[in-house]
């Protein structure tokens, strides 16, 4: 389950940021997850529950997940291709490209600073 290794990378980044800001604790972590990111929101949450116990600064942190739907568009005329259709523009006959939906992002953190 790679959600564990994703959470591990997340925690390292968050902890470094919290230390740099001399924070007392991390209150909230917001993550953006694309529909085609390969990371499952539920599994990420349960991995987070486990890992935050091991990072003192994050013990009481909340993980908030912003789910990002996938969108495919024509690279020429920008027409959106609907879900479940062939990923090729009907007008230009060109292969579509992913406009969004593969993100695995750390958006922001909220820190308790003395």
């Amino acid at each position: 389950m790679h959600e564990y290794s994703v959470v591990q990378s997340l925690m390292q980044r968050v902890e470094a940021e919290a230390l740099a800001h001399k924070a007392r604790a991390v209150d909230r972590i917001t993550v953006g997850l694309g529909e085609l990111s390969g990371v499952d929101p539920e599994l990420l949450l349960s991995a987070f529950e486990l890992f935050r116990q091991m990072v003192p600064l994050c013990r009481n942190a909340q993980l908030q997940i912003r789910e990002i739907p996938a969108a495919w568009r024509c690279r020429v005329c920008d027409t959106e291709i609907s879900k479940g259709e062939v990923l090729r523009c009907k007008i230009c006959q060109k292969p579509a490209q992913l406009a969004c939906g593969d993100e695995i992002l750390l958006d922001r953190i909220e820190l308790e600073v003395p």
Partner: protein
């Protein structure tokens, strides 16, 4: 003062980051890419389900690739069996035992690079851990992603594992010699399903048993070395 939600808590400070969580893997992958470019080698990240025929593809490649200098890294949870199989057909190989990790990452590949048993190569094959999910999300620094999908796995796999097929520059449909025994497998349906999850997919039907597709596969590899192969168009997503 908390600016983002106006909660009024004087001690809450929001910090905007907006960075890929796997940024450190991306950095190491970029470093691997420099290694590959410096050595003039094409690196293939070969992915697919357990038993899809990945090692068989490489064994066949070894027999049919003539003068090309090949090397391999094989990712496996517990054994180095695939590396041994490849050495037996003359491909210098390093096994990467991942323990519990279900995918290779750029750090594992880098470590293997530094104790690799070769000096110069034309093609480095990185056989990933058999898994249709997470190997797709870790950049290794490869030149191209190849996904092996065997005909026995069923034509619906692209729809069930869109993340993997989306990143494929090439889909090798393996074990096609078995098609006469699989009356339920419609190749047209498989092609249609692939077209719904990856734009302009390049597809080669392959068999390690009959030799179908081997020439085409080797030609595709040669095209990568000279920059002619690849997908019908640039692939890549919003943040990749």
């Amino acid at each position: 003062m908390c600016e983002s939600c106006g909660c009024g808590d004087p001690g809450l400070v929001p910090v905007e980051i907006h960075e890929r969580i796997l940024a450190s893997n991306d950095e190491r992958a970029a470093h691997n890419r420099q290694h590959f470019a410096g050595a003039g080698m094409v690196a293939i990240n070969l992915m697919g389900s357990p038993g899809a025929g990945k090692t068989a593809v490489l064994e066949t490649t070894a027999r049919r690739s003539g003068e090309k200098r090949l090397g391999a890294m094989t990712g496996d949870l517990a054994t180095e069996r695939d590396a041994e199989r490849l050495k037996a057909v003359g491909i210098p190989s390093v096994g990467i035992t991942t323990g519990s990790a279900c995918h290779l990452d750029a750090t594992l590949v880098h470590a293997a690079l530094h104790d690799a048993p070769w000096n110069v190569l034309d093609f480095l094959f990185i056989e990933n851990v058999g898994n249709l999910v997470c190997p797709a999300i870790y950049d290794l620094g490869q030149t191209a992603n190849v996904v092996a999908l065997s005909v026995t796995e069923g034509v619906d796999k692209p729809l069930k594992y869109p993340v993997m097929f989306r990143v494929a520059e090439l889909v090798l449909i393996t074990k096609v010699d078995l098609l006469p025994h699989l009356p339920g497998v419609e190749m047209e349906e498989l092609y249609a399903n692939l077209a719904k999850v990856t734009p302009g997919p390049r597809i080669i039907e392959f068999s390690a048993v009959s030799g179908v597709g081997v020439k085409e596969w080797i030609r595709w590899l040669e095209g990568l070395a000279t920059g002619r192969s690849g997908k019908a168009a640039f692939i890549g997503g919003a943040s990749s």
